[in-house]
């Protein structure tokens, strides 16, 4: 028996291709992308979901992690700037280090900007999935550094918004430093006579 090669054979990627209703599936052939993903190196399962971020979609990810012993997850859906925290939490709940999850942005960067070009959008979506899967093979678990938060807030500006925010924070028991460049607080509002819609005095 030959011992299994370390890196290559250990990588088990699951790819989850999201329709986002018609947001993605309206412009991208998600079925074809899923088939394509399945054939990528290291990919052991590829699943298409209607809404990956919804509970059924997330459960599918968690189940697949257990069933296929996945150690990397690629979610091909929307921008990581929106849902990276969602899917990091999802894989964490299934016992995977959150840094082993990677996203491919098929919505903001693809379907939404290439409607009416199904072929081009689908080709691009495949590349983005291939790129995410290639990257996933090099992902490593990471530990986040935890740092204490100083229990004091700074509010910059003593107009109506700054005053209100300071008062609310202080009412909630927090220490607040309010800075104002003028000799007095009040800002523009203090320069007004009556204010709408109540027609009462501003101060």
């Amino acid at each position: 028996m030959v011992a299994p090669k370390p890196l290559e054979d250990e990588i088990r990627i699951g790819v989850f291709v999201c329709d986002c209703g018609l947001n993605i599936a309206g412009a991208v052939d998600c079925a074809a992308v899923t088939v394509f993903a399945k054939a990528l190196p290291g990919v052991v399962c590829a699943v298409r979901n209607k809404y990956t971020c919804a509970d059924p979609g997330q459960n599918e990810i968690k189940d697949a992690i257990r069933a296929h012993k996945l150690n990397r997850v690629v979610v091909a859906s929307c921008t990581p700037r929106q849902h990276e925290p969602t899917f990091r939490q999802c894989v964490r709940e299934a016992g995977l280090n959150p840094y082993l999850m990677e996203m491919a942005n098929l919505r903001e960067h693809c379907s939404w900007v290439h409607p009416g070009n199904r072929e081009g959008a689908t080709r691009k979506a495949m590349d983005l999935v291939a790129s995410a899967a290639a990257r996933a093979r090099f992902l490593q678990p990471q530990q986040e550094l935890s740092v204490p938060v100083t229990k004091r807030a700074l509010v910059i500006g003593g107009g109506v918004a700054g005053i209100e925010a300071s008062l609310q924070l202080a009412d909630a028991g927090h220490k607040v430093v309010l800075v104002e460049k003028q000799p007095s607080i009040g800002g523009i509002m203090a320069q007004l006579d009556k204010t709408y819609p109540t027609m009462d005095c501003s101060i």
């Binding site: 840094y99 093979r137 500006g157 700054g162 007004l192």
Partner: protein
């Protein structure tokens, strides 16, 4: 208005040495302290709420309304002082030229708002309702006044606003759709004549008035740029602060721990400012309550075995997060590292690993993107905070562009190493674009200066190798600039079409590394597919 007296140091004749000293003589309480001076206080802070408000538009540049030429043309802010019981006229509304009470009062809306010609395309939100309020106040104080409002649209969409608008009309205010083209003054009486095209009736009208109030718009405060660079915040195209997400995180700044309240985020009235202040306070309070926060594990690590002690990394770190002394191995202070990756792209000895944005990972992405038909594709390196977000904005706004681009995300454009760009060309990319935040908006203080320097070196390198340098492009695109992102993608596609297969083939060979720099292991695993 301060509740106690303060010395206005801009007008004081001088306190060091004391030039006049009359105030100290007059103050029986001996409260005047000429030795008081500005101090710098240092406090540790866990959360910041930015509530720096607004500046009111100065209508001097819009000369057609005659604000600088005619006494009886005033701004809505000046109106507030004239109608205020605590103001200079004790609340008796008189006009500046003769201190008489005006009866025919005009209001011009959108002065400095919704006017792209003067670079102010946005609606200031508050001026319609403010004018409606003013007409009601006048009608209430002086039943004989005739108010006339010149407007383009009346925006009265808040709670009970429409009701106020109707009441203003019932109180006799005339609303004329159309902004005045010209204002003239009778030199004798100082009365004003306003010429306006009434766009409802289509007729040219002249209105004689005793006073004209310019309903001035609002603008981002001039300190915004300073605060913005201190806290690494970004602006939307109208110059107000950009929030983290317009629907899901409307009061969070993209910088963690920073929140917005009030006008500086977008024009809004008092009620909305108070609401937003509450939301910000609650977000900031939640952060303070957690006690600890996790820092994303994207920081730099230096391999002390591989480090050649050159100090290059310490020289480029915008945060001073790398300790290095001549002849010693460089050390990263993890809590100070923001994860821009400038050091990782700079180290020539493969001694730095950027966690979660490693060379291996990024090169693998480039190779995967270009595996099939690379000649059809434009490789775009986009930084998380600006250009990647700008591409998201293009998506959210559904702005279409050619489907040839392939984006690789890094936290900062400074993370993009020479090797990554060269590898893209070696893999057959016709065009490579590196994009980041505008110079002053870099999310990592000024790391994008390293990007600019590195690009210069790369252009030189390409030129030497006989590769057209313009095939490597650099663009600064902000998170708000979805339009610009799409436009740049169109340009890149045009550029791509000019690149021939021969050029691409030549480039593959011309850029082969002389001494194999990429270790075998990485090449083998990444190229296995």
């Amino acid at each position: 208005m301060p509740s106690t007296y303060v010395l206005n140091m801009n007008d004081c004749l001088g306190n060091n040495p004391i030039a006049c000293g009359k105030c100290a003589e007059a103050c029986e309480q001996n409260a005047i302290n000429y030795d008081d001076h500005d101090e710098i206080l240092t406090r540790e802070i866990g959360a910041i709420i930015v509530a720096i408000g607004l500046d009111v538009y100065d209508p001097t540049e819009m000369d057609e309304y005659g604000y600088t030429r005619f006494d009886n043309v005033i701004t809505s802010m000046e109106f507030e002082r004239l109608i205020c019981a605590g103001g200079p006229t004790a609340g008796h509304f008189v006009r500046p030229s003769d201190q008489e009470r005006p009866k025919r009062i005009g209001f011009v809306q959108c002065v400095g708002s919704r006017n792209p010609k003067i670079g102010r395309p946005y609606c200031s939100n508050i001026c319609c309702m403010n004018t409606i309020k003013d007409t009601l106040l006048l009608a209430d104080h002086y039943p004989d006044v005739q108010n006339t409002v010149f407007y383009q649209d009346i925006r009265a969409s808040g709670k009970s606003f429409e009701d106020m608008f109707q009441r203003s009309k019932e109180a006799g205010t005339r609303y004329i759709r159309g902004l005045p083209g010209e204002v003239e003054e009778d030199p004798e009486t100082h009365n004003l004549t306003v010429t306006v095209e009434n766009t409802t009736s289509g007729s040219l009208e002249r209105h004689e008035l005793d006073i004209l109030v310019l309903s001035v718009g609002v603008q981002p405060p001039k300190d915004l740029a300073k605060i913005s660079s201190l806290l690494t915040l970004s602006k939307t195209s109208d110059g107000f602060f950009m929030e983290s997400h317009p629907k899901l995180k409307p009061v969070d700044a993209p910088t963690r721990g920073v929140f917005f309240a009030g006008f500086c985020e977008a024009p809004k009235d008092i009620k909305d400012s108070v609401c937003q202040a509450g939301a910000s306070a609650s977000r900031a309070g939640a952060l303070l309550n957690t006690g600890r926060i996790q820092i994303e594990a994207i920081t730099s690590r230096i391999d002390e075995q591989a480090c050649m002690k050159c100090g290059q990394c310490a020289a480029v770190c915008p945060y001073g997060a790398i300790n290095w002394k001549k002849g010693e191995v460089a050390v990263v202070v993890e809590a100070a590292c923001a994860g821009c990756g400038a050091c990782g792209a700079t180290c020539q000895f493969d001694a730095i690993t950027m966690r979660h944005f490693t060379d291996d990972q990024l090169i693998a992405q480039v190779r995967a993107l270009l595996e099939l038909e690379p000649q059809d594709k434009v490789v775009v390196f986009a930084c998380n905070w600006c250009s990647y977000a700008g591409a998201d904005m293009a998506g959210i706004s559904r702005i279409q562009y050619p489907a040839s681009n392939r984006v690789v995300r890094t936290m900062c454009s400074a993370r993009v190493s020479e090797e990554m760009v060269l590898e893209a060309f070696r893999c057959g990319a016709p065009v490579v674009l590196v994009s980041g935040c505008h110079y002053a908006d870099c999310h990592y203080i000024n790391a994008n200066r390293q990007t600019a320097k590195r690009m210069q070196r790369l252009w030189d390198k390409l030129e030497k190798a006989g590769v057209r340098p313009e095939r490597l492009q650099l663009e600064w695109i902000s998170a708000a600039e979805g339009q610009k992102f799409a436009e740049v993608m169109r340009q890149m596609e045009e550029l791509r079409k000019t690149v021939t297969m021969e050029e691409i083939e030549h480039t593959r060979h011309a850029l082969q590394p002389k001494h194999k720099k990429i270790p075998e292991k990485k090449t083998a695993t990444a190229g296995a597919r």
